[in-house]
């Protein structure tokens, strides 16, 4: 497949644009998606191409953005609603978890809610306590919702296209730190990636690093460094927090018998907790060392640069965690 080197923001933009060209029912809505060209420029040029009917600038009304997308999806449209950042999606938590995620089940299949909530997540650029959340696991808690967390431009494109075509409500998170990072992106208009499928991004035999989104960058960097000492890490990029592809994790774990979970989010009741719990339930006989977790520290993110970085995970913390168990 022919591919082109693009930053993640451009890969997302392509995916969204192609899907809007393909399907008239798809429209985007959110704060600053139109005239401003998108807070993160993912919808740059959309207003020109698709017009006001399909590119809806909204008031600063997160509850209504969330809920209106649900209603429009029920009535047959394919909304792609953007929360400027995931921090503001907290205001729409009810629309997302009590409505989007419940309606198909609560009415026993009578209604479908085929929508995508896009939300920019994380950062670590002194955005401070309220503007630096990576709460993907909170949303992944709820059955009825899928949660997508791409780590590369190609995955971002393939996963977003799949999400838009799917019949279920999907929270699609985009790491702000990854928007400018380039990578090869397939040019095919029909390039999609299956829902809930993890990918081994590096093969190895000594320890499995299980991660998603920005954690992939730290994990791959750590794996490279550890390889110099002869420690071969296998890196599993989950890509989706729900559905959670444990088969791929188990397959790797059976080979390595050791695991480190790497995530940008907080440690309590987290992705890492879930993976560790599943491994001890299902893979106890294969386990040679306690599962390690690398997460943000259990504090609100501070402003001051030095202590902000201290609180965030990085490559070195992953290296340390691996060294504790090999």
């Amino acid at each position: 497949m022919a591919s082109k080197n693009l930053p993640m923001r451009e890969a997302l933009r392509q995916a969204l644009m192609e899907e809007m060209r393909r399907d008239e029912r798809v429209f985007v809505m959110g704060q600053e998606v139109g005239q401003w060209q998108g807070t993160h420029r993912v919808t740059a040029g959309f207003l020109d191409e698709f017009g006001k009917k399909r590119v809806k600038d909204t008031p600063i009304s997160e509850m209504a953005i969330g809920g209106l997308a649900v209603g429009a999806a029920m009535a047959g449209l394919r909304p792609v609603a953007e929360f400027m950042t995931i921090n503001f999606a907290f205001l729409a938590l009810d629309a997302i978890v009590n409505h989007a995620a419940k309606i198909h089940y609560m009415f026993d299949g009578m209604f479908k809610v085929p929508l995508v909530f896009r939300a920019a997540s994380g950062w670590g650029n002194q955005a401070t306590a309220t503007h630096s959340h990576t709460p993907e696991p909170i949303f992944a808690h709820f059955p009825g919702l899928y949660v997508a967390c791409p780590a590369t431009p190609a995955d971002a494109k393939g996963m977003l296209k799949t999400a838009i075509r799917d019949e279920n409500p999907i929270l699609f998170t985009e790491s702000i730190a990854l928007y400018p990072k380039p990578g090869p992106v397939p040019e095919d208009d029909d390039f999609t990636l299956p829902i809930g499928k993890a990918e081994v991004k590096r093969e190895g035999k000594h320890v499995t690093l299980i991660t998603y989104a920005r954690g992939l960058e730290w994990s791959l960097a750590a794996a490279k460094e550890l390889a110099k000492d002869g420690v071969e890490c296998e890196v599993v990029d989950m890509r989706w927090l729900r559905p959670l592809d444990m088969d791929t994790v188990y397959e790797s774990f059976k080979k390595t018998n050791r695991a480190v979970v790497v995530e940008e989010s907080l440690p309590m009741y987290s992705f890492g907790s879930e993976i560790a719990a599943r491994l001890q339930e299902d893979m106890f006989d294969y386990m040679d060392a306690p599962i390690q977790r690398v997460t943000s520290m259990d504090v609100p993110l501070p402003y001051a640069r030095k202590i902000e970085l201290m609180a965030l995970p990085d490559k070195d913390k992953v290296v340390e965690a691996v060294k504790r168990i090999v």
Binding site: K53, S61, A64, G67, A75, M110
Partner: protein
Amino acid sequence: MAKKPTKEQMLEFYRQMVLIREFETVCDDLYSQKRITGVYMHLYSGHEASGVGALGAIEPSDHVMTAYRDHGIALARDIDANLLMAEMMGRVDGVGGGKGGSMHLASIDHNFWGGYAIVGGHLPLSAGIAFAQQYNETGAVTLSFIGDGATNNGYFHESLNMSAVWKLPIVWIIENNFVGMGTRIEDSSGQPELHKRAIAYGMKDGGRVDGQNVVEVYQSVKSAVDYAREGNGPVLIEVLTYRYKGHGVSDRSYDQRFADELKEYQENRDPITLARRYITENYKNVESQLDTFDEEAQKTVAEAVEFAENSPEPGYDELIRNVYVE
């Protein structure tokens, strides 16, 4: 102002109103006999003219959404009482397979998009339904019912404002029964004349309507629906009505607290009595027809109870189905 309803319409309104009253009376009995169970059941008795008059003003191709006080709206939309009663009892033949219960009645075939239990949560959903009609140029109008208490959370503000900015074809109907659970309107709203909220959004103020008078409700809603259908944007109507029963089945203080007011409404402002008087004063030889409706209502509801009680309870297969669209 829209024309008065025809004789046929008035007879149909009466038929629906007595059916609703009977359905609610029987539900109340069934609950005290523990044949309907659970903690939530909110009766529509006293409100009949509001739902019936309003739904009488729209077409089958139009759309309806409401909150948890939804039995009367569902019946006014002519949904089969058997299926509604089965849902009340949590049976597989219920409209939602027994998974929604009293607060979540719906029927996609009737464009009745459901009852919702998070106060205000369905308001942006209704706006989304209306948005889909505008997007697809269907010409359909959406009616969205709102409790007086629901006008005080953020969903109300965000949804009404957005509907005005986007000129959505929607009629917002506040059913003001003067109390939200146990809090009187004077104690919850700085502006207790709720229709005046329209001014804040630059939306058409549909005024305050006597909700015990089905003729008046019909005429006001019809005018509003015509206005919205012509593409002029949303309308807000305040229907003054009265709840005969406590907030829900767990509310035991209501009858005592408001005894005098309740007596006044039941004796002098009862919507069914008033409708009957209007019909007998305006049309000849209708008494026996009205009596027939009274008898039919009893028969319909008795049959519905029998149907529901003969319907099986859902099992494991129903428990796990329709979490996602497969």
